[in-house]
Symmetry: none
Subunit: 130 residues, 4 copies
C-alpha cells in the first residue's frame, strides 16, 4: 500500500492520511480483515508525528471503517452504510456537485467524472475476488 501525502498541502496531515486509507478501502486494496501498518511504523515511514497517524486511525475507527486492538493492531472492518451516514453523505455530495455546476462544469461531464472515479474503484475491487 502506497500512500501519497502532501506535506505542503492546506489539508491537515491526519485528514490526508484518513482520505488515502478510505480510498485504499474503496479501491479494494484494503479489504475486510486487512491489517493496517502499526501506527509508529507508518509515522516513521512518513517522518511525521505518531499522534498524527493515531488521529487518522481514530477518525477511521469512529466511522466504523477499522477496528483497533492491542493484539491485532488496526484491521479493516466491513460496514453497512446506515441512514444517518447516507443523509450526511448526500448533503456533502450535493455541495460538492453544486460547486462543479456553479463553476461552469456541464452536468453530464460531472456525472461522467463520477462514473469514471467509481469505475476505478470497482475495477480494482473486483480484481481481488474472481
Amino acid at each position: 500500500m502506497i500512500l501519497n501525502l502532501d506535506l505542503a498541502s492546506e489539508v491537515p496531515l491526519y485528514q490526508q492520511l484518513r482520505d488515502r486509507i478510505v480510498e485504499a478501502i474503496a479501491e479494494g486494496v484494503l479489504t475486510e480483515g486487512s491489517p493496517l501498518p502499526p501506527i509508529r511504523a507508518l509515522a516513521a515511514d512518513f517522518g511525521i508525528n505518531f499522534h498524527t497517524v493515531n488521529k487518522a486511525y481514530d477518525l477511521l475507527r469512529q466511522q466504523g471503517l477499522i477496528r483497533l486492538n492491542r493484539k491485532t493492531g488496526a484491521v479493516v472492518t466491513s460496514t453497512v452504510a446506515d441512514s444517518p451516514f447516507r443523509e450526511d453523505w448526500t448533503a456533502r455530495a450535493r455541495t460538492l456537485l453544486a460547486e462543479a455546476v456553479a463553476r461552469g462544469l456541464p452536468a453530464d461531464e460531472v456525472l461522467t467524472t463520477c462514473d469514471s472515479l467509481l469505475a476505478s474503484f470497482r475495477t480494482s475491487h473486483s480484481g481481488d475476488t474472481p
Copy 2:
C-alpha cells in the same frame, strides 16, 4: 432565496453560507447578474454578524463566483472552470466517492444519487425559462 444555516454545526457559519449560495447558483435560483442581498441585510436576516457574511462573500469572490462592488453590491458572475479547478475538484470528488464506497454504498446507488442531485440542479435551472 431561502438559505438554511445550522448554528450548532461544526462547519463554520461563513462556510455554510458559502455552500448554500453555491448551491443556489447551481440550482439556477441565482444566475449571472443576480444581485445578492447586501452583507448587512443578510447578516440581520440570520441574526449573525455582518463580518461573518462578509467572509462568505469574500470566499465566493476569491473563487470567481461573485463580484463585489461598492456601487452595485454583490452580483453573481459567470465563470468557466479552469484546469486547476478541475483537477482539484476531481481529487475532492474522488475522496468523497471513496468514502461512500468504503462505507458500503453500492457504486451504482452512489452514481444514481449523484445523477439525482445533478438533475435537481438542471430542473430548477431550466424551469425558469419555459
Copy 3:
C-alpha cells in the same frame, strides 16, 4: 486609439481607463498635444457612466499627464518626473519586483521582462518622429 477594458475585472473601471491611457502615452500613441476623446463620447463607446471617465481623466490631470480645458477638451501634456514622483514610483517598483522574486521568478528573467516591456514603448514612440 483602442483601449481594452475588462468589465469583469476586480480593478475599478476608472483605474483601468487611466492605466490604458498612461500606457498609450508611454507607447507614443498619444504624445504632447494629442487630444483625448471627449468624456461623454468615450463613456458612450464603452457603455459606462461618464462620471467614471471623468474620474479617470481627473486622476490623469492630478498627475500632470493631461490638461483639461473647456475649449480644447483634454490634451496630453509633456511632463518631467519630479523627485517625489521618482521616490514614490521606486517604492512601488520595489514592491512589484519583490513580489516576482518572492514568487520564484529568477531576477534575470524579471529584468528581461522589464526590458522587453520598455522596448515595446520605445519602439512605438520612436516610430512617430523619424
Copy 4:
C-alpha cells in the same frame, strides 16, 4: 526583521504589511521555513489589531507564500511562479513601467532602477551564506 508601516497612508495597513513581508522574502531576510511572528505578537509590536495582521497573513497564504498552522504558526514556503501569475504580473509591470515612461523618465534610467532594486534583493539573499 524590521517592517515599516505608515499609519497615515492611503494604502490599507494589511496591504502594507503584506508588501513589507513580500519584500523581506525577496531580500532573503525570510527564507523557506522561516517562521513569521505570531499574529498577535506582530499586532502588539505595531500597536494594531490582530485582525489586521491576520488579514495580511491570509493574503500571503492565498498567494502561497506562507503556510499557516495552529501548531507551527506561520512559516514561509517555497513557491514556483505559475503561468497565471506570470501573466498577471507582467500586466501589472507593464502598467507601472508605462507610468514611469509617461511621466518622462528615460527608459534606460527606469531599467537601471529595476536592475538596482533586483540587485539589492540578490545581494542580501546571497550575502547570508558566504
